[in-house]
Amino acid sequence: MSADRRRFLVSCTALALVPGLARAQQNPQREALLRDVTRGAPVRTGRVVVDTPMLADNGHSVPLRIAVDSPMTAADHVRRITILAERNPRPVVASYALGPHSGRAEIVTRIRVADIQDVIAVAELSDGSFWMGSAHVIVTELACLEG
């Protein structure tokens, strides 16, 4: 009886650890992706807002707004914004080159989302620093995987 109880408790603990393990396994892939975008430079979280519906029922066309907090002057501006969807077959969705001519560091577009995942936006600033923001997107009809 007591052995059963112990086994039950052990399996409960193991189950509780599984999501943590999954997250740890997911991270190297994301880190490799970010390294490709930043050419090895560190990325800080913040300054980038990714705005998307929490529940997008059609993954073929998910509205997406990306805004970066930047004055967009010649001295301090966003050079590039890259959209990443790490669980898409091709994780680099699009990349946009901006500059002081833009006036405002904001992009609105529609993307394909292949799975329930975090959509990440990485901004490269004129001082060479990288900032990122993300949004969790739930799709009920997945893009890319079926015809």
Binding site: H60, P100, H101, S102, T109
Partner: protein, 106 residues
């Protein structure tokens, strides 16, 4: 390729104007089969540029993760009267172009 651009006809110098572009294009991912089960080759608009009086003010590099009939909204600071020229090219080499005039007042 059918396309529609939206640029305000008039703006004041220094204003930040909203630019919208929509292009009719299937943005084939390369994963979709045709009616005979053969894979349709990837064909997406890979580059789009916006030049404002000859100066490139915006460039988009896109992949198969961008939805069919891509829509894009971005911002440009109005500097002087002239026109914005949009050029794009897809993987098959087909090019498209659209232009929009803008009058800038002081």
């Amino acid at each position: 390729m059918l396309a529609r651009v939206q640029v305000p006809a008039q703006a004041r110098r220094g204003d930040i104007v909203t630019v919208r572009i929509a292009i009719q294009h299937p943005m084939e991912t390369g994963y979709r089969p045709d009616n005979f089960g053969r894979r349709i080759a990837k064909n997406v608009i890979n580059t789009l540029t916006c030049r404002y009086n000859g100066v490139e003010v915006f460039r988009a590099e896109m992949g198969s993760g961008v939805s069919a009939n891509p829509q894009l909204q971005f911002y440009v600071r109005a500097e002087s009267s002239g026109e914005m020229v949009f050029d794009w090219v897809d993987d098959s080499g087909q090019r498209g172009s659209e232009r929009a005039p803008i009058t800038v007042t002081a």
